[in-house]
Symmetry: C2
Subunit: 239 residues, 2 copies
Amino acid sequence: MAAVSTPYDLYYWPVLPGRGEVIRMILEDAGVAYRDVARDEGFAAITAVREGALGEPRPYAPPVLKHGDLVLSQSAVIARYLGERHGLASSDERGRLLTQQHFLGWSDLMAETHETHHPIAVGLHYEEQRDAAKERAHHFLANRLGSWLDHFERIVSHGEGHHVPGVMTYADFMARFVIRGIEYAFPSTFDRHRPQIPSLLSLTERVEARPALAAYLASDRCLAFNEHGIFRHYPELDA
Amino acid sequence: MAAVSTPYDLYYWPVLPGRGEVIRMILEDAGVAYRDVARDEGFAAITAVREGALGEPRPYAPPVLKHGDLVLSQSAVIARYLGERHGLASSDERGRLLTQQHFLGWSDLMAETHETHHPIAVGLHYEEQRDAAKERAHHFLANRLGSWLDHFERIVSHGEGHHVPGVMTYADFMARFVIRGIEYAFPSTFDRHRPQIPSLLSLTERVEARPALAAYLASDRCLAFNEHGIFRHYPELDA
């Protein structure tokens, strides 16, 4: 494995937060040297990686992290790798397993949120699948979102403010990102859920108050949510 | 952590293979004592776990593994935990990271396959969303399945027959399960892809030839694919 001081190269879409955002958050929080390669070089850098520019086996999709001669994809794997190297992990095996479990839970919720605007095909525009999207969003907001939020509120409440008691982990960072994403995508529905999730809202604010993260969030390195990403605000879906 | 000799309790739907099947495969391959609790006690055992019977924080959904006082959910986390304890993991960190990455890739493909028959809501019957399912399946089979299979074929080909060179891992088990699932769901389409994936087909057969797994697959403990599960055969979707 490369030394911690070896710089990191992150490959992720340069125009949206998304699966790469929690990786950016971890790197910024750690204050380590990293290059957000496609912000410098454009989409072509990602295309090259998907065509084998970093070697074989090539990754299926970004985010991709290169660290020395190690090349990783899948946000859960990258987040775990970085989180455990940079102080965002439990010191015991049980805590590390649960951190990964909770991260993957938030990933599942994020994936369900993405499906609300792309229920038919990722290769079609939203406007080409709007009717199905309205149906999917209706079911998601009526039957899924509340149970997911109940689930995570219970975890963080039992964890005394964290997913794993007593320690800030990359699962907490992921929670902050997904909470802000859902708030952006479905502001009206989210407002109705606020009283249900005091522990999650408090955690979100505590993550964002970490000095290095606060500086990142206020910088132009941090991309705003928009309608190219996973979390999109289409008012007709927020019914 | 509990000793390896502590029995395992698995909670998963007793009527279908699915996200729990790779866990069953790992336990059977290892030849360890385990109880498939809901096969004995029915759905009520799963409902109880989701309502906190194994303690807090309760899991969101099965599969759930109880080992001593450790309770885990998320198939990727359980598979890693068991795989690393029972000889289905790399001996170095790079290999362990890549195993998890590839497992999650197969999980993504499995999730996309599930969406083909439930594009609108998991809470609705297939028959209530058949038109959208036909559209989703068309796009999946035309634009996604081939690129996923190319991706994994390249990995296993570069890995000399495994996802991680030289070692049989729980990612190889997951590949076998998803390959068989897609073959079941879309037999006509899958037949056309066979010439494209010699390494994956060989791996599938080598996994199934492991003596303990061969015995499991031939036993009544192994549930057949059916139309309650993730991989469902609806001829109208296999166009």
